[in-house]
Structure formats: C-alpha cells, structure tokens
Amino acid sequence: MDAVAIDIRARETTPAPPAPAPGLAAALWRHRLVRAGGGIVILFTLLALAAPLLTRWHVLHEPIRQDLSGLDADGMPRPPGGAYLLGTDSLGRDVLSRVIYGTRVSLAVGTAAMLTATVIGLAIGLLSGFYGGKLDLGLMRFTDINLSVPAVLLAIAFAGLMDGKTLHLHPAWLHWPFLDVQLKRGIVSIFLIIGLVCWPGMVRVIRAQVLSLKEREFIQASRALGASDARLIFRHLLPNVLPTVIVLAAMTTANTILLEAGLGYLGIGVPPPAPTWGSMIADGQPYFITAPMIVIVPGVAVVLTVLAFNLLGQGLQEVLDPNRTR
C-alpha cells in the first residue's frame, strides 16, 4: 500500500501557471507597455536610491534646508535657472531636490502599502474562495462593507486617529507598556493606513479565480491523494493566482501612490518637513501664478508614476495571460 501511495504521490503534478515561464523576461521586454511603464518606474527608483549620493556629491541641494538665497528680495521663490534648475519653493528650498526626495517617500509608501494590501487581499480571497460556506459569506460581506466606503474617506478617518495619543492594548490595571502603541503620523502609519483601505478591490478577483481553480482536476486529484488544505493553498492555488496578483499589485501601486499624494495634499500625510509630492502641491498652490513650477513639477511626477504603474500592470496582464487579447 505504501509503495503504491508513494508512486502516485510522485506523479502528482501541479499544472504550470498560464504564464510562459521560459522566455518570460524576453516576452516582457518585447511588450511596449511593460517597457514604457517599467522604464519610468526603474528611472524613478534609481533616482530615489541615488538621491542621497547626489546630495553628497553636491549635484542636488539639501531637500529640507531652507536658504534665504533661495528667495528673492521680496521673499518670493526663485524661478528656474542658475543654482536651482527647477526653481525654489516658498521656503527657499530646491524644487528639483524635493521632488526627487519625494520619490523616495512616494515609492516607499506606495510599495509598502501595496504589499500590505496584497497580503490582506490575497489572504481573504484565498480563504474565502477555498473554504466557501459561512466563512466565505462573512469575509465577502466584510469586503463589501469596505468596498462601500470610499478608500479616500476611510484613509482620512484613519489618519485623523494618528494624533499622537497612546493606544493601550491591555486592560488599564495591567500596566504593560510594551502593549502601548503611540498613534502618530509617519511613513509606517501612512503606508499601513493606505494598505488597510486598498485591499478590497483585490479580494473579488482572487476569490473568483480560486473558486474556478479549486474545481480543476489537479486540485481534485491532490485532495484525493490526501493533500492538506495548507498544501493545496500554498502549493497549488497560490502559484496559479500569482500572475493575477502581480498584475493587480502593479495597478494597486498606482492607487496607493495616488492616495499617498492625496493625503499629503490634505496635510494628513507624512509630516513636514519631509518632502512629499502631495504636500509640495498643497504648499505651492498659493504660488501658482507667481511660481508655477512648485506645483507643476510634483504634479507631473505624480502623473508619470501613476501612469507608469498602470502601463506596467496592463502590460503584465497581457504578457502573463496569453488568452487575453487587447
């Protein structure tokens, strides 16, 4: 009996995900949407990584250093040219330097929030689709509730809670300071907030795919062979939904970056003086007539990045899902 079982287990195979594994890199490179979107993302990532070096080599000004030489005699921002390639902002800070350093914040927050949303969305989608029944009903209604509230409003509400107060995660009489969490605004709290409001969109797609996959023969065969739920989920279902997840993740990054910029614009993002694109646009708005570059440059950066991630997502979808044609 044992020998037979081992023999059958050896023949248990996981069908290859639809993605064309061999030559994937070449296929991606051939696709012009991936090339365009990926190229912009790589460029921004390189700029973000190199920013401290560029400052050290005096190619870029310090992004948070206020300098009176950055203001004219009337105390107004300097126009583009000379020592400040894209001009200065209302505190005499270099716009180019701030927009490049803002890339670090936007990409870091956007990526971390995307990962948070993906982990939550993937977990709920997999569990809901795989187990079905009451769990599915409960999780999907929870998702529906989250979908019914606009992500921006939810994020603003969460951000409003970050007022520096300490949250005691224990009964008052226990005095366990290690369970005290200070609710304050920073990169970590902002990416968590954005991640916590961006996951519902993923759930339905993943759940639908899991519902379809779990009826396929290879899953039925694995189940018949005694594979555990965990094995079915992680060994068989996860690799098969991964291409979809990658596409969703790229498009979600566009949303998280946009939301980060939105919160920054409303003054409830990463606190000053850290340069963020949203806060730069908000600060520069009163100067739109006298010094338009303060608003235009971070605005273009937001548009380019969001466009890039959307192009990348669209391209990835077409490459990873050959059945889908444009």
Partner: protein, 541 residues
Amino acid sequence: MKPDQHLRPGLALLCGLLVFSASAGTPAAPDPPRRGGTLRLAEPTDLRSLDPAIAYDSESTPLVHLLFRGLLEYDDGVNLVPGQAKDWNISADGKTYTFHLRRDARFSNGRAVEADDYVFAFERVLNPAAASPGQGFFTGIEGAADFVAGKAAHVSGLRAPDRQTLVIQLAKPQFTFQYVLAMTFAVAVPRDVVQRYGKDFQYHLAGSGPYRLTEWRRGVRWHFARNAYYTGPDGYVDAVDIRVGVDDVTGAMMLERNEVDRVLAGPPQAVHFARDRRLRWWLTRVPTVSTDYLFMNVEMPPFDNVLVRRAVNDAVDKSRLPRLSGGFASAACGIVPPAMAWTNASLPRYDYDPAKARALLREAGFPNGFKTTLSYMGDNPILARLAEDIQQDLQQVGIEAALRPVNSAAFDEEVSSRHRVPFGVWGWFQDYPDPSDFLDVLFNGRYLTDTDCNNTSFYNNPAVNGLLDQAMAGLSAPDRQRLFQQAETQIMQDAPWVPLIHEVLPVLYHPRVHGTRPHPVWLWRFEWMWLDPDYSNELSK
C-alpha cells in the same frame, strides 16, 4: 485673542495704527463720500456664527459690529466714545459704572433698546450653557462667579433701575473693563427674540446696528441690508454681500475682474499685485497688533529649566522670519507689539547665537541636545511656515524637534490644557488697546486653569503676578506703563516664550472702494467704506 483657522495670511482680527498704501497713481477720491451700492466681500470658509455671544474671530467681529451695537465704541482711533449710551460715569472707587441709554436706539424689529436688554446680554455671555468665548471678560462683575457656578439666578452686579439706566458693579476696580464694554460680546440683544429662538437666534439675528441680516445660506452667501430703525450715523453702502468659498488665489483673480471689492490676500498674491505697475496701488499693508510666538511649557521637562528656555531663545534666528513671510511681518523682540504704541528699553536681548545656545544647553545638562515635539496649527500657513523654519534653527544646536501639525479646533483645546503640549507655535491678537491684554491675560499666574488656559506656557511667577495686579488696579498711565514694562522684562528673563513676528496683513481693495483706512481696534469698518459709482474698471474691459 487666539488665532484661528480664519487667521490665514491676510486674515487677523485686530490691526495696527499704520497703513501704508503702495501708492503709485492712486486716483483721487470723489468728494464727498457717496451713498449707495453693494460692497462685495469674499471669504475662503464660512463664518461660524454672527451671534455676538459666539463670534470671536478676525472676520466675524467687524460684521457683528454692522448688526449690533453696544454702550461704548471707539472713535477713529483708540478713544472710547458713547455708542448707544447717552453718557456714562465711573464711580471714584472705580467699581461702579452707570450708563444712561439713548431713547431713540431700536432693534431691527422696531422695539426700543432697554437697559434690561444689556443685563440679559451680559448674563447670556456669562451663562455656561451659552459656551461663549467671551465669558472670561465679564467675570469681574460682582456676583458673576455665583451666577456662573449656578448659585444665583441673576448677576447681582447688573441692575436696570429704569428702562434707560444700567448700573454695573464690579467686584474690584478693573481699568480694562471699559474696553470690554466696547467688545462685540457686550452689545445689546433683544431678550424677546433670543428667548423665542433659543440657540437658533443665530439664524434670526436682530440687533441695533446700522444693518440687518437678510440672508444666510450656509457655505454660500451672507447678505446685509440697511436697518430702517437705526438712528445713529448711517453706513455709506446700501448692502454688504459676502461670497463664501473664495480662497485668496481665486479672490485675487475675481478682484481683477471686478467681481469682488476686497480680498484678504496671501503674500504670493500681494507680491504679484505689488510688482504689477497697474495693480500695485490696490494693495494695502496693515501691521497688526499681534505677536506670533514659540511657547515652552514651564511645567514640562526639559522646559522647566530656565537655561533650556534661554538656549531656545538664542537658537532661533528671528531676522530671517520677515523675509520668509514674504515681507509681511516684522521680527518681534518682546511680548507687547510695538503697534500698541509700546516700547520697553529694558528688555533682555536674545540675539541669534547658536554657540551661546549650545553652551547654555551644556550648562543645563543637555550637552547633546534633546528630542521634543513642536506642535502647531497645521491649517494656518503662517504658523506652519514658522514651525518649519524654527525646526531647522533648533537642529543646529542639537534640539531635534519633530513637527506635529494639529488641526485648529484640536490645537486650541490642547495648548490650553495643562501638561499637554510642551512646545508649540501660537499667536495672540489684541482684544483691546492695552498692554494688559498681552501681559496680564497671558502671563498672570493667578489665572492658571487646567483647561481653557490662555497662558500656554503655564508660566507663574509671583513677582510678575504682583506687578500685574498692581498695574491692573487702575493707576495713572505712567505708573501702569512702568509696572507693565517691569513685568515684561521679568517675563522675558524667565523666557517662557520666544516672540517671533508681528504679522502684517496684505489686503487688496478694488479701486472703486474708498474709506478703507483700517481701524486700530476694529480693523475693518465696513460701514465707513463707500463706492465710487463713476469708476470704470479698465482692467475688466
């Protein structure tokens, strides 16, 4: 008066004595002033309320003054003159104020103003149920404490012996009480109308001022028309119309298109106008009687150490602040603004000296500096900019101050609560033209409370309290001046504040508007403004 969300660039309650018009070809005003027309104003956000017990910000109080009138008023300077009181006298001991009212004063519903309406109005402001920000101004009246505590149904110090006589008895002499009576909290309100509408009185305002409210569409528009029953000096314009939701950038463009008559501009718009040869004389610069400051809570470490507080004073480079404010500010050296006709030669000097600041920090036991949080009102661009600038200066001497922007409503509550905010940027605008409004109100330790405390540093020095108490007792002007100067000097030696700037307001007026000279206390007297009907707006053609 605390700044609020209305105190954006170009918005502040009370202004200074001087007005500089960047005049280049200002057209000659027709003489005499013309009556008629509608004065068009613009506001970025809606006014909270024009109920005189509630309104307490830069834009609301001059509008309340259009609708309501009180016993005393200011002339075109800082001198008090009878308003709807025919005459008044103060007893020799300085405790009893007797007013005789004018018989012709009427509310906009036609009813005559009676002394009893003033008693009702003062008790209404004192009543805790009204939650009036003006309550503290009236607690010096005899019996007010019992009334506030609910121990008495009426304030024993307020009496109306007949319809035209009002007697106010103070618990002790208070020199500044006459100024309190000229504030909008002290105007007459009709008892019958307030009792009929209760808290909805703000939608059915009836006052004894030259105008009456004819329309309030929340978030959209306010409209005032003439009060037919008003018998005092009339306003020039027939109506005042306020469009809500017009920010300073949009407002400046609308002004150029002749769609509004006045805009409270920010520095960018003001500089844009100043640089334009055609537009530069539309701009008015108004120095305010205000001080924006950095406060240190002396009850919270490390600011309980005077050496740390002096180090912070030495670490801040105030000379940069006016330029960072687009030129619309002057650097502050002391607490009381110079626009209050105030000088104090004995003030200790804190010149920008980072080396001295580091030495003081070492002496205080902080050789490597320390970390703290700098709170400020995030929706006030002037204070936000000051906070960012100060953070950089403090970093130079080893003080790592994390910026903490807070929305205006929460900030007001936090900074006025004990042991809440160690370090922050805030501002104070005059309520009345007397140094006590800055020194006594903000630094007399006898007024310390756990909440709603104006003394954001929670500073309490018995020597200073004694000097301020003496000055408030009603001495001769030179003696009061000397005592206030001594108090200010001692406070600055104890350094609970770093005075930063005195704000200058950039205000844009359409050239068809005349009579725009700001009032030293009221700031805007809309009833004194008049419109030139013959002006043709060449720019809008």
